[in-house]
Subunit: 168 residues, 2 copies
Amino acid sequence: MADVVPKERKILVAIDEGEESMYALSWCLKNVISENSKDTLILLYAKPPRAVYSALDGTGYLFSADILATMDKYSNDVAASVIDKAKRMCREQANEVKVEARVESGDPRDVICQVAEKINVDVLVMGSHGYGLIKRAFLGSVSNHCAQNVKCPVLIVKKPKCSSSGTK
Amino acid sequence: MADVVPKERKILVAIDEGEESMYALSWCLKNVISENSKDTLILLYAKPPRAVYSALDGTGYLFSADILATMDKYSNDVAASVIDKAKRMCREQANEVKVEARVESGDPRDVICQVAEKINVDVLVMGSHGYGLIKRAFLGSVSNHCAQNVKCPVLIVKKPKCSSSGTK
């Protein structure tokens, strides 16, 4: 068993601004990646498409170009900072693992399923919630959608609440 | 990193008569269990409660004691053969791992969530379908329910269809 050459696996981790997706990444680094593995970790951040912002404006007026540019910048900054944080976590917890990052625009439900399919990943890891309470109410659970639609195994990680039972 | 003592994890694998749950178990043995781990694999089979059989009788008459005894025996035999098959798979694919088996009666959705909670498992592994097309239509997806209700990470494994794209 010890001589078995570890398989090269592609592990896709969907990340967002929420703590839960960072917890999912951390759980994955501790439990899925083994130290002698040849795994490649692909961090995926789905940037909301501009339509999501526009939809916030219920007045019927379009945003000015200035405001749109500001929003785009904000959205790019958030993406960069999420990816940064995730990469730092990878370096600290599993220095050997190969890490790639992808930022794609679109509804996270579609983006995650499309990327999982396109690059033929071995497993998709994600938090169970994320993407905010309000957006979730409109869009439905992202993890639920992905678990039903991607073909590869899906690992859904929940962030434990501050030990309610006292046993954890 | 190589000197780190592996954590003892409890991995709960929900199994049933279907091929998909056996595929999920096999995927777990290959991808989650590492050879130097102290993991305990807990195989869980949820035996349908008698009410499920009774519900099949739409005539309003109760089954005789004979028939009920036959059904109970059948149900126990199925449980034993599923557990047997799963244990054999564990021995063949990951001989070192500690394996326990549990058979519990009840709706699989409840049984799986209850056991996961009670023995405080580190991860729950299951197929995405299973429990038959007809039962699923009544009960809803078992994996979906569990992913939403258990607190631990849930790994949902789908059995790949016979390579449709030709890339797998």
